[in-house]
Structure formats: C-alpha cells, structure tokens
C-alpha cells in the first residue's frame, strides 16, 4: 500500500468542495432546471449548455498543461482510462440507458449526491437505486 500524503486527501476534499459549489450554483442540482434544458420541445431553457461549456472550456485549456507534467503534484502517476476504443456496443448501450434514466428523473450521479445537502426527499429514492444499478453494472463488467 503506497503511502499517500495527507495533502492528497485534502486535495480530493477541496476539489469535491469546488465541484459541489459549481453544481449548486449552476442549478445542475435542481431537476426542474435539468429537465427544462432537456425538454427542447417545451419552454426550452438553454442555461445548462453554459455549465457544460464552461466546465469543458476550462478542462480543454488546463488538461493539456497538466498532462504534460511528469506526474501529479501529490501522486506518483496519472490514473487515466486505458480503454480508448471509440466504438464499443456496451458503452453505447450504457450511455443510452443512462440517457433514459437522466431524462425521466432529471438527476445524474453528481447532482444526486450533492442534493444530500438539501432537505430533498427525492435523492433518498434516487440514490439507493443508483447504487444498486452501479453494483449490477460492476457484476456485468466483470464477466
């Protein structure tokens, strides 16, 4: 077990904090707002395109600089996905199932977790189901 400096744990906590701030400020945590964006046939609210644009924009600029470093500041190596195949039926099926679940509920995993900060009973139905679904996928993926 490699020794992990306490600072790397603080970094994870801090990054999570900023992420949660961003989700709540952008109203990604409000399923009304999310469904208002997905419902292009209704009174369309394009706000969430600005969330995605801002987040991807920062990443597009910052990631190339970061990944040019020999290693992360507080760790030995970068942990990046190793499978880069762009076409894989299981990934497409998964993305489609995710899209159906997101479209009927208005929640994706980050906002559902962040909503534990709100007095909102919805996430107490959504999150346990999400965890069961993730466990099922883990079993399927190990086959």
């Amino acid at each position: 077990m490699p020794v992990r400096p306490i600072r790397s744990y603080l970094a994870a906590l801090g990054a999570g904090l900023v992420f949660g701030l961003g989700l709540a400020l952008s109203q990604m945590t409000d399923p009304r707002k999310v469904l208002g964006f997905l419902d292009v046939a209704g009174a369309w609210d394009p706000s969430l395109a600005f969330v995605m644009g801002g987040a991807v924009g920062v990443g597009l600029v910052a990631f190339p600089f970061i990944l040019r470093q020999p290693h992360p500041v507080l760790a030995n190596r970068f942990h990046l996905p190793t499978n880069t195949r762009w076409f894989e039926p299981r990934v497409l099926l998964g993305a489609a199932l995710f899209g159906v679940g997101w479209g009927i509920s208005g929640y994706c995993p980050g906002p559902a977790l962040a909503q534990l900060a709100a007095p909102n009973s919805e996430t107490w139905l959504f999150l346990p189901a999400l965890i069961v679904g993730s466990a099922i996928a883990r079993v399927i993926n190990r086959r």
């Binding site: 990054a15 949660g20 997905l38 470093q69 919805e122 466990a135 099922i136």
Partner: protein, 141 residues
C-alpha cells in the same frame, strides 16, 4: 423557467476548475459515477480519497445553499417510481458506459477522447428524447 446564463457559466467554470485541480494534484479523473462505484464491492481500494471527494461535493453544495438561503426542494407531485427506475437506469448505464456527465461529458471531452464524445452525444440525445416523450406524450412532470 428563467434563463440563467451567468450563474450557469460561473458554475461550469467552477466544475471545470475542480476537475482540473483533482487531475493536477492527485492525478485522478473527476468522474462522479466512477468515484462512487469504486466504493462498492468488490472494493477497488483507495476508498479514502473517494469518500473525501464525495464529502466535499456535498459540503460545497451545502455551503452554497447556506449562503444563498435556498435549496431545491422535492417536486410536489413527481412520481417516486420514476426516481427509482431513473436511479437504476443511471446506475446500470453509467456503469456499463464507464462514465457519466462528469467523467465523459466534462473530463472526457476535455481530454479530447472520441470514446467520451460518442458516449456524451448518445446520453444527451437519448435524454432529450426521453424527456420530451415523458412530458409531452405521457404527460408526466
């Protein structure tokens, strides 16, 4: 529904900054579905940073709600069954796709990953179609 481009953009910049921080400092991809599912059995190890990131995520939202004095409450007559079915589908789907809105939609696109682009376009288009059917054909929500 109000159009809120400024708070959306600033929130997006914060999310992108958080993902960049986690990659720069810890070398990890800020994909929430992967961070969460890595805590499930069989444990993939390294549970501490996952738990701390999720704690921070909840804390960050709590902080904003405290400052703002308002948090989104539950929808009055939204069927609980849709939340349960939705949660199951999001869990299975993001597991099979190896990523969600953050892992594929933010970090994957920022890495210029074609795999993530295909996944993101798929879940976005399917979600748009699903929402339109649920709202305008089934008349729910």
């Amino acid at each position: 529904m109000n159009f809120t481009p400024y708070s959306a953009l600033i929130g997006g910049l914060l999310i992108g900054s958080a993902a960049s921080l986690l990659l720069w400092l810890d070398g990890r991809i800020a994909g929430i579905s992967g961070i969460l599912s890595g805590l499930l059995p069989p444990a993939s190890g390294e549970a501490v940073w996952r738990v701390l990131f999720i704690a921070g995520l909840i804390g960050g939202a709590a902080l904003l709600y405290a400052v703002h004095g308002h948090a989104p409450c539950a929808r009055a007559d939204f069927p609980g069954a849709l939340l349960i079915v939705g949660g199951l589908l999001v869990g299975v789907g993001t597991g099979l796709a190896h990523g969600c809105t953050s892992g594929h939609g933010v970090c994957g696109l920022a890495r210029r990953s074609p795999r993530s682009l295909v996944a993101t376009l798929t879940f976005l288009l399917v979600a748009v179609g699903t929402t339109c059917i649920v709202r305008h054909v089934a008349g729910i929500g």
